[in-house]
Symmetry: C2
Subunit: 175 residues, 2 copies
Amino acid sequence: MTDKSPPFDELDRKIVAILIENARASFAEIGAVVGLSATAVKRRVDRLRKTDVITGFRATVRPAALGWRTEAYIEVYCDSAAPPRRIAEVARKYPEIAAAMTVTGAADALLHVRATDVEHFEEVLERIRSEPFIRKTISYMVLSHLLPESPEAGASESAPVAVPGGATGDATNLP
Amino acid sequence: MTDKSPPFDELDRKIVAILIENARASFAEIGAVVGLSATAVKRRVDRLRKTDVITGFRATVRPAALGWRTEAYIEVYCDSAAPPRRIAEVARKYPEIAAAMTVTGAADALLHVRATDVEHFEEVLERIRSEPFIRKTISYMVLSHLLPESPEAGASESAPVAVPGGATGDATNLP
DNA sequence: TATGAAATAATTCGGAC
DNA sequence: GTCCGAATTATTTCATA
């Protein structure tokens, strides 16, 4: 299910790389770069969307501009009986939780939380800590970001578009 | 500098919320929702872009579809003399580092890293650890995500669009 | 199966009000 | 803020390899 039939060739990768940088690039514009007609580009983009390689197009914003000025990561320690499913249920209840994942190490899960300010964060933390199966939390407040990039409304992370080692140099490379 | 002159009203927030969910929504489409003409919406979007409330439009993809199948957070401990600036310089050198930030707690910084596989991650980790002023690292491999949302090419985090406490209910609310 | 070209529908964009 | 018209873009249709 991870590898579907449609071959993902070099052209697709270039197109995806361009759309990651600018979701509003016109098909003709993309075609001029990759050497394809606008029609062909559109067909490929449609297919990439249908096969869920491209999952959406979204505007990225400065969280601070929308009032989200506080960010933190929370390590969550649960009762041994609590399965990840239960954590997921809780995470879905809080719009402040931008991401939740199970991780290696002592903690059972890691939460990425955004709040408007410290007071708001404290309130959210208290609510999370009062969940029945949560035994302990350790919070790490984010002080400042050292990289720019895609500070979407909540997400402050970007994509490594270039290939890691031995890239050919152009920005359209992907692993 | 955080609060600029242009008033950010309810209409702007609705427009931003719509564009976060679909960066390719047409101005007329947005206008129909917020009760504005397409022209008026465009002018507002142009202004939101100019004032850097909206920082860009980008396609979101499944990292796994592009070959990024390994994800981790790395706590970085530095020599006491190393300033955040030095960490930022290092972070910029690695395309695998999707996010880097200073945090509270014992660690000096937290890195969000994406790699194609465990071997690739180990290579990146070794390179990071060999940086002169880095004294220690602790890695937390991400096992599975508990929330869906915006797994952009590298970013797996989404935005809390809804207002936290006492929201009015509709999805266009922001703090 | 994939492409390109032309025709049509929709959208963007600028000016006038 | 709206209305209108020109330029651009998206989308469909058709033909080809």
